[in-house]
Amino acid sequence: MAVTSMIGARIQRREDPRLVTGHGTYIDDITRPHMVHMAVVRSPYAHAAIRSIDVSRARSAPGVVAALTAADFRTVLSGAVPVTNSFVADKKQVPDQFFIAEGEVAYQGEPVAVVVAGDRYAAADAAQLVHVDYEPLPAVMDLEKAMAPGAALVKRDRPDNIGWDTVFAGGDIDAAFAEAEVTVKERITQQRLFPVPMEGRGCIAEFDEYDNHLTIWTSTQVPHFIRLFVGGGMGLAESQVRVISHDVGGGFGSKLRPYPEEYLACGASKLLSRPVKWIEERSENLVATTHGRGQIFDVEVAAKRDGTLLGLRFTQILDIGAYHGVFSAFQAVACLIAGGCYGWKAVNGRSIGVFTNRTSTDPYRGAGRPEGTHLCERAVDLMARELGMDPVEIRRKNFVHDFPHPNNFGLVYDSGDYDKTLNRALEIADYQGLRRRQQEMRAQGRYLGIGLCTYVEICGLGPSGPTAAAAGVALVESSTVRVHPTGSVTVNVGTHAHGQGHDTTFAQIVADGLGVPYESVDIRHGDTADTPFGYGTYGSRSLAVGGISILKSCQKVVEKARRLAAHVFEAAEEDIVHERGSYHVKGSPDNAKTIGELAFAAHGAGLPEGMEHGLEAVTYFDPPNFVWPFGAHICVVEVDQHTGAVEVQRYIAVDDCGNVINPMIVDGQIHGGIAQGLSQALFEEVRYDDESGQLLTGTFLDYLVPTIAEMPHFETDRTVTPSPTNELGVKGIGEAGTIAASAAVINAVVDALSPFGVRHVEMPARPDRILELIHNGGGDGHNPGAGREVTA
């Protein structure tokens, strides 16, 4: 086991042999003695009053242990699903969501009863026997109708359907528009999406009535949140609750909150004195797990005729669903970052959160930043089109060049070099060559489109000052680094990997931070019993916040070992040299002690006066700023004018996430991120019936999750602009691909269709939608008539 430099090494993920051979430990792999299984009976209606629930047939079905409703759970659970500020502290209303419906259901999939049985099959069969007498009520589905005074209500006890209505004013927007020589307007929609983690949710709750302890195994991104909130719902303190989350098969934001089923499993375990397991079925996952996006933006851009951008004014209408998500207003961050990587005189965003009879929305990969970026990058393209400018030129002309750069809302971009990523992407793409080819193809009646997205991302949540003000929580991150007596190292962290490869990258940091062999480092996360309080993993924060916490713990350990080395060598501390985990007295490199040897000494007799035993450190890291990765993506599509089909021919991504710990993992994050953004642009779309509120895309037959066959080859490259915010110079990369991709793809599709007079294409760019635009020239009267004749 050699000590080598591990930061920056392209090494394979150490968790993969276990995960890819099926030896991971997911919730459904865990069994507890005397465990019973819970099935959830859910509302088939978007909105209905519950006249009565009859569980008698279910209760007497074979194998059934219990059938429970709200009245039963009220005896063991209290409170409501938590709702955080998330950028909007002054919400108009925060209706309580108890963990199971009482008297009224407000979305299809809302829990109304549970059945607990000896096995999953008996529970599923008996769930069908629960009879609920519903009185259907009008379903509130249309966002704008829902906002109107006197609109039908999502729940009967609410004053209206407005969750919040807040203006984020960055500068004098009226003055910016007064200066304008050109303005353009557009409505840009963000369709609802299912997050679709490969592993659905699931949990096991085991309440021990003798010592009043609760253990929850759950598939989550946030074990410590779950302990805090679900334990609280059970009336327990954190010390009485242990949350264990082993391997987690993806989250994408949908597992960063406590859910009703977690509370219900805990309540059932207490009522029945048995461990209770609940495993989410895929069809449940699509209605019971939060959705992403679901927003309408009305945007207006002001510029000078020379392409100088002046003002960006928009309204975000956000579909909250029936109840606030735990972070429901987080997507309002779109308003704060909608200016992107450009200088504006003013940016002004009004965010209106509207309740509907749908499943709640909450963060989904990128969470507000894909929406803000899509808005900005579409808006800039629309303006370029209006001005007859090349989309590259308008971007170059307006890029921010001086860093640190406070944006219109006082958020400080820590570093950047937007020309560098754009130039590299243009070079890889051969942009001028592509434009020539586009002209040649148009002459043949073929429609090539080239789309750009130059983005900047806020991530690494977050510095406690602004984060606590905006989010309501501080979002610092924790670690303990412990060197055992014979030199191996255990690191316990408050973040929680669900596909990010932290076991590998964090160990790389520790190997270099301590100067120990990579193989000697063990990373532990996901068990509240042995990890310090942490906020979990989301928002591309784990490295820039959690990773720096680990580095700082390593530094504390190295310093203690230095003091110990001075004692062992009977030398002055300042004469001790530390190189790659080895200590010696200046001038005597042959007589060295490794950190492992010093760890042994640290656990033995004869320590210096006042030094405690052991070699370990704890750090809670509060970063001074967010981190600001950026990049340039270029998408090339060909649109078939006769079918409306979009073929993605090339996808080029040049990203800058500062220094890189493991290039292979960064590549993987970029690939997966692009896939999800491209998928929003072309495939995925949650659809409900406008009248009944019935979900129309309730299986993967109708909800189009693409496969590798639908993906182009990704041409990726990087530039490196280290973040000045932290010692490693790192930024986040978990969401960048998703943030950039939808705009790059749609800009390419619009570019391809520009000869038909099309200015904008909504997502997903379905073939039927595109064909309609080709026939109607975008429906805006701009159509010069070219190519309107559609023949095969």
């Binding site: 999953r120 099959y121 599923a124 069969d125 069908q128 079925e281 895929r282 069809s283 006769h642 079918t643 089909a645 072309l682 495939f683 659809r687 129309l696 895309t697 299986t699 037959l701 109708d702 189009l704 693409p706 496969t707 066959a709 639908e710 379905r766 073939p767 039927d768 064909l771 023949t791 095969a792």
Partner: protein, 268 residues
């Protein structure tokens, strides 16, 4: 996603399968690859009282050529049809169609008989059987394909009748299958297959009506010497696509025209 309870038996022969169906009655279902039935059961949209497993049934697993016909056993998997030299020699369009069914997993498990008996308008083989006047061979009789597909998921099969083979006429002329979908493994939003035979062009439509549809208008136009573009204008004749979450009926009709022309032009 857990099916309702059901009985399960296996049948080693066609007679055994028929016997089981007669014993269990109307609610029993045959299962071979289960690629359509199992999802329906998991959603509890189908709750058969019993499954008769014919995946190892003898006498339905052969591909043979005789008397100008290619007989494909009901139990032959799509993947085997796709790769079969006999199919490629006798009816290369069938091999091409098999290649377009689902994904690898579906092609390894799904069967010819399953597609035909399910009678889904989106089932790729149904259009081929219909347009080529194939015969559906069962435990009771031989059905002409033209009278077999009755309505949405409804065929001429009786409850205790087991499909054993499909007999296609040999056809080695120019052919093509244009299957339009958004993901490679999806059902067709609309599909068109064309085959040149000694008696002229044959045209079939996938997912453009309650059942597979034969493109009689296009066939007639081609017989009268129409060029592909001209013939394709008659593509929508007799089609009754429906609006669904994938696309509107109007869009599917438009696709029928576009894909017909493309199929005819690309037929080789």
């Amino acid at each position: 996603m857990i099916p309702a309870p059901f009985d399960y038996v296996t049948a080693a022969t066609v007679d055994e399968a028929v016997g089981h169906l007669q014993r269990f009655g109307d609610d029993a279902k045959l299962i071979a690859g289960g690629q359509s039935l199992v999802p329906l059961m998991r959603l509890r949209l189908a709750q058969p009282s019993a499954l008769v497993d014919i995946s190892r049934m003898r006498g339905a697993d052969a591909i043979t050529r005789e008397d100008g016909h290619l007989s494909v056993g009901a139990g032959v998997h799509h993947a085997d049809i796709e790769r079969s030299p006999a199919v490629r020699d006798a009816l290369p369009l069938l091999a091409a169609v098999a290649h377009e069914v689902g994904d690898n997993q579906v092609r390894n498990l799904g069967t010819m008989g399953g597609v035909i008996a399910h009678g889904d308008a989106a089932g790729d083989y149904c259009a081929l059987a219909l347009m080529l006047d194939a015969e559906i061979v069962t435990s009771k009789r031989r059905h002409a394909a033209s009278g077999f597909f009755k309505d949405v998921f409804t065929t001429a099969l009786e409850p205790d009748e087991v499909v054993t083979a499909v007999r296609f006429p040999v056809a080695t002329g120019a052919h093509a299958y244009q299957k339009f979908r958004r993901r490679l493994f999806d059902w067709a939003i609309a599909g068109v297959m064309v085959q040149r035979t000694e008696a002229g062009w044959r045209v079939g439509y996938v997912n453009l009506g309650p059942t597979a549809v034969r493109g009689a208008g296009v066939e007639q136009a081609l017989a009268q010497g129409a060029a592909p573009a001209e013939a394709a204008r008659r593509a929508t004749q007799g089609l009754e696509p429906r609006d669904d979450v994938r696309a509107t009926a109007a869009y599917k009709r438009h696709l029928a025209t576009v894909l017909t022309q493309r199929a005819l032009e690309s037929a080789a």
